[in-house]
Amino acid sequence: MAATSKVVRPPQSPGALQWLRENLFNNLLNSLLTVISLAVILFTLAGAFRWVFFTANWEPISNNPLLYLVGQYPRDDLWRLGVGLVLSSFLFGGSWRVWGGVLRTLAFTYALFLLAGVLWPLQAETLTLTMRAFLLANLVVIYLGFAFAGFKFVRPLSVLFGWVFTLIITLVLLHGISSVAFLPDVSTGLWGGIMVTLILAIGGITLSFPIGVLLALGRRSSLPVVTIFSTAFIEVIRGVPLIGILFLSSIIVPLFLPPEVRIDRLLRALLGMTLFSAAYTAENVRGGLAAVPPGQVEAAKAIGLNNFQITILIVLPQALRAVIPPIVGQFISLFKDTTLASGVAVLELLSVGRSILQANPQYIGLQTEVYLFIAAVFWILSYLMSYASQRLEVALGVGQR
């Protein structure tokens, strides 16, 4: 026995053919089922392919790409959105350099969208050459951002501030400043499409996250007033459907305000979505807070940290890491729930699609195409968020202690 010093190898995994024979064709019934399933799959795929490329009429989309993107936003003022796009391109490049990993994938996806815009075979009057050239230039800007972030003084935090700055600057530009001659106000009634959907989603997420964390901390506070307020807020909001909150914020709240105080319609919808999402985020974060072992807080106290430092340095980093999956789930559902804002006359993507169908008699019967397109847009963006969260979990080592 001792003489046979042969290296013991793990069992070889079978080749593809071997695997097929063992699993799909190992007896008559299984072979039959395999053939039938294959036929059904091929038939379905072929049908779908034929429908998408030959039967379907994509005119409601291909003739109105700008409506889906920005709604009725004045075409002469589209340069304002362009500024935001250029800043975003620059920051996508920078984020790629600074964080790598998932941000690289996102920057690539973003570049792919731009490229699709450049090359899309649409008529010249809907997507002018100037626009195509602008989108192409953005690809260069991504590279510039990537190169710029190579400088030593660019830190992850500066890129993060860049994003916040871009968000604010873009919103201010889109809205206009009445005292500046070349920036006349553009009523949010004219805003629409994917632009509004993204404003509601990104705005709702960035605002509701800190509020949710504060509410979760408040609910565990030792001060009874804070606890009662946080708990009451969370439970009331969670007990009401989102559409109810949106109606409340857009119709009932203005009734209580003096007539000269007018809050913008889009802003009211954003407020409603933020509060709604904050309550759910709070409950998710609370779960994460409860999962931090009490020994962590004791150890932090024992080395002399005060309560604020313990929360910021010890408890929150561990709690938030543990709840990335449910929080991202919450953000994805917030993103999809932006469609409910159509109920309070906010022209987000879904209502743009609906109004294009209603306004053009020649599109009668093309609902399937329009709604499938909208569904695809939502699916792609939701999947990107989900993908980013999975990568983030791996990067932060969720589940490892």
Binding site: Q296, A299, A302, G304, L305
Partner: protein
């Protein structure tokens, strides 16, 4: 060392310390005086209040009656006093309680940077020296989850020492360790004791007590049953409960 302290102030002074959890009384009047440089070993059956007692000394547990004075500062509801006492006492836990999201060096430098307000370079330099002292300088950039239990506990000691405390509290530091790792932790504790650190150690490691303890306290049912030098406790225990307990833990 334990004799002739009459002229000196005790660094830890406890008078008639009581502690309740609801209706359950965990401490029933503890009196203790510890002088600078002494090594105290506290032992007793589980549920005897020994862990509760050591945790009242840096106010992880609040005592409801009696007086605790640490280096001249009385522990009360005054938050500033609690913070001062915590800066002067380091604590090592049974479950290590390292911060899993921070590297070893970040674990150690956290408090010096945020509480003592040292510059990062100074904190890291001292952390490096401490890791050298506990024998694991090569682990600085690892995360706690990548270390063995014995290494984690030594990092925990370095973390506590980084605040340059006057007193070190140990709450069953070797109870969660695999047997082969107990020695590496005890070695560091012995070295620390010999360097003149004031130490209170809740432990059943009687070899440690024999080697470095100045005095031993036997806790049972929330009270100090007996105290004395290791020689007195091991060779001539006065109380039946002490004898019984010692025979149980020394028999194997």
């Amino acid at each position: 060392m334990s004799a002739n302290h009459s002229s000196e102030q005790p660094i830890i002074l406890c008078r008639d310390v009581h502690k309740w959890y609801g209706n359950f009384q965990a401490l029933k009047g503890i009196d203790m005086e510890v002088y600078k440089g002494e090594v105290i070993v506290i032992f007793g059956p589980s549920g005897s209040g020994k862990s509760t007692f050591i945790r009242t000394l840096n106010r992880l547990e609040e005592h409801q009656k009696g007086q605790i004075i640490i280096d001249g500062i009385e522990l009360s509801h005054d938050v500033r006093n609690i913070e001062k006492v915590r800066m002067e006492t380091g604590m090592v836990f049974q479950q290590f309680n390292l911060f899993p999201h921070l590297t070893v060096i970040q674990n150690i430098t956290l408090a010096p940077i945020w509480v003592r307000k040292w510059p990062k370079e100074k904190a890291e330099e001292i952390a490096g020296q401490l890791l050298e002292r506990v024998g694991i300088p090569e682990q600085a950039e690892k995360f706690p989850g990548q270390l063995s239990g014995g290494q984690q506990q030594r990092v925990a000691m370095a973390r506590a020492l980084a605040m340059q405390p006057k007193i070190m509290l140990f709450d069953e530091p070797t109870s969660a360790l695999d047997p082969e790792m107990i020695k590496e932790v005890l070695d560091v504790m012995v070295e620390l004791a010999k360097s003149g650190m004031t130490m209170l150690v809740v432990t059943h490691e009687m070899s440690f007590a024999r080697a470095v303890a100045d005095r031993m306290y036997f806790f049972d049912d929330g009270l100090i049953v007996e105290s004395g030098t290791p020689d007195e406790i091991f060779n001539n225990p006065q109380e039946d409960r002490t004898k019984l307990f010692l025979s149980q833990i020394l028999s194997h």
